[in-house]
């Protein structure tokens, strides 16, 4: 017998070596590191959840007893061991403050953040793509110069400032959006989300459209572009196949990365716009030293980030064989 029954066959082995699977394994490794960091970092912050909860008058014995109750007694390695063991079983623990399971809190808050992320990214693509292309094609005209200046100003404006300006303009002056708040359910939630998304895009769109602009400019000096003109290629075919598509890779990679940063922008944005998403929950959890909740949110939103970058890589490999995962 050459291969043991029930063992890993040659085909399975080949499948396991598939580049996409390897990349996926990398993603899982990153997720694991993320979990470790989330666990350690929150414990580096001074302050003890038991002492915070019990207040100033608690005795030493009370604090020790309460720590045991919360499951944060013992050495750091033993706590970590317990944490990982629970995590493997899908148990993210219970919030120290509200005694509610972490998963159920995240389950309630995550959709808001996800919706914010999706709305933002759709808006980013819708704005950055035409802007980047136009900025590349008309870079020597007044539009190109205006774009450069405008982009610099927008990138340099902090989101809490541009957010307030946008609220003042669209919510107070023109009344096209609520000042703050949220109601679940698509498509009604878009009414609450478009302004926060626009605020984040004040930073994302200028950066991404400039990345796109410079790669299109770079592509346009490639030999194959002139070769296509000389062959008589024209119209949308020329623009899409010879200018845009070969230029997309850096932009999509950056988009994957920025989609991830939306999660952290969301912290500020959710406070400004009073959106009940993960960001606000996270800030509260850190303030209360709610270890399980912080760990859960950082780990799960980290997974989201890892997933988004992985997706960006896949899309890139499909659009541009040079960027294919190997």
């Amino acid at each position: 017998m050459t291969s043991s029954p029930g063992g890993i066959g040659a085909r399975t082995l080949r499948l396991l070596r598939h580049p996409v699977l390897r990349r996926l394994a990398q993603a899982f490794f990153v997720a694991f590191l993320l979990m470790v960091f989330a666990f350690l970092l929150i414990r580096l912050i001074p302050g003890d959840p038991a002492m915070i909860l019990l207040g100033d008058e608690a005795t030493e014995e009370d604090v020790i007893a309460y720590r045991k109750l919360l499951g944060i007694d013992g050495s750091i390695p033993s706590q970590f061991g317990r944490y990982v063991a629970n995590l493997v079983r899908g148990d993210f623990g219970v919030s120290i403050r509200s005694r509610e399971p972490v998963l159920s809190i995240v389950g309630k808050r995550l959709p808001v953040s996800l919706w914010l992320t999706v709305t933002t990214i759709v808006m980013t693509i819708g704005l950055a793509l035409p802007l980047g292309v136009a900025a590349a094609l008309y870079r020597r005209t007044w539009f190109g110069h205006a774009f450069q200046i405008g982009a610099s100003v927008m990138v340099a404006t902090p989101v809490f400032f541009s957010g307030l300006l946008l609220i003042l303009l669209f919510a107070v002056q023109v009344n096209l959006a609520p000042i703050a708040g949220y109601h679940a359910g698509f498509p009604a939630n878009l009414y609450y989300l478009w302004l926060p998304a626009l605020t984040i895009n004040f930073v994302l769109v200028p950066v991404l459209s400039r990345i796109l602009q410079s790669s299109i400019v770079e592509t346009s000096s490639e030999e194959f572009v002139e070769a296509a003109i000389i062959r008589g290629t024209q119209g949308w075919r020329f623009y899409w196949r010879y200018l845009l598509r070969p230029s997309l890779a850096p932009t999509i990679a950056a988009l994957g990365y920025f989609a991830a940063t939306v999660v952290s922008y969301a912290v500020i944005i959710e406070i400004i716009f009073n959106l009940p998403g993960l960001g606000m929950t996270l800030v509260d959890a850190v303030r209360n030293r709610d270890y399980p909740l912080v760990q859960g949110i950082v780990f799960l939103s980290g997974l989201l980030v890892v997933g988004l970058t992985f997706m960006a890589d896949l899309v890139n490999g499909w659009l541009d064989p040079r960027a294919k995962i190997r």
Partner: protein, 306 residues
Amino acid sequence: MIDAANLSLDRRQAVGIVGESGSGKTMLCRALIGTLPRHGAKIVSGTVRFDGQDLAGAPERVWRGIRGREIGYIPQSSLAGLNPVLTVETQLVESIAAVGSMSRQQAREEAVALIERVQIPRAEQVLKARSHELSGGMRQRVMIAAAIAQGPKLLIADEPTTALDVTIQREILNLITQLRQELNMALILVSHDLAVIEEVCDEVMVMYAGASVEAGPVAALSKAPRHPYTRALRVSRVDRAAPGRDLEAIPGDAASVGSWPAGCRFWPRCGLADEACRRDSQPALMPAGEQLSACIHAERMAEMEQ
């Protein structure tokens, strides 16, 4: 910059343009295909006539009907001439489909025929490949296929063999010659190698520093050059070198735009140069023997050879 070049050819004729790097060969070809503006240049004076139509300064719309359809072009660095993100098929089919209403299936079959026509084996496989999966010779063949896809009347090949190794060079030259006969195309072949042009062309134009310095039948120029630069090009050819002796090089560097000398632009590198060469401006082409020469000492060259 080119300020004195005259090139004309009949249907089915093959004309060569030869000269060192920077002599204006590629610029001249770009003018013939109307893509000078991309290089920040334009035609200030002169005409580009094709089939009786004057194309110099013609609007982009007119050029679009010419490029690919009437004039096929194999660009100089055509190893980078294929879009890396598209398959060969996509690029060929798009050239073919530009001709007229043709179904996808028809265009595909046509693409297979084109690939076979440029003598690439396993056409189906090559069609599915992208640029980086092909060898230099194959890429060049694909570029040729794309250039002839719409059945042009004129094929311009700008140094089609420069980036290739010697054995492939021969194959590509043979292929171009063969296609030219099969498809009844006129040919403009650009090269810095006189030997290549002698092999393929009937007529030749020698360019130096933006001006044509000698033009005429290939046989005449190679037998009895009437311009010192043409002679120097011949003498510096590797295949004519005497064994055991150093290769003869043309002294000095090619004059580049902005540093053209006063007088005849070749005089600093010329053995025949005298006071008149340094003083008078770049001479125009004048009949000399069977060809035209832009050298005031053309007669003296003829005497010297006897």
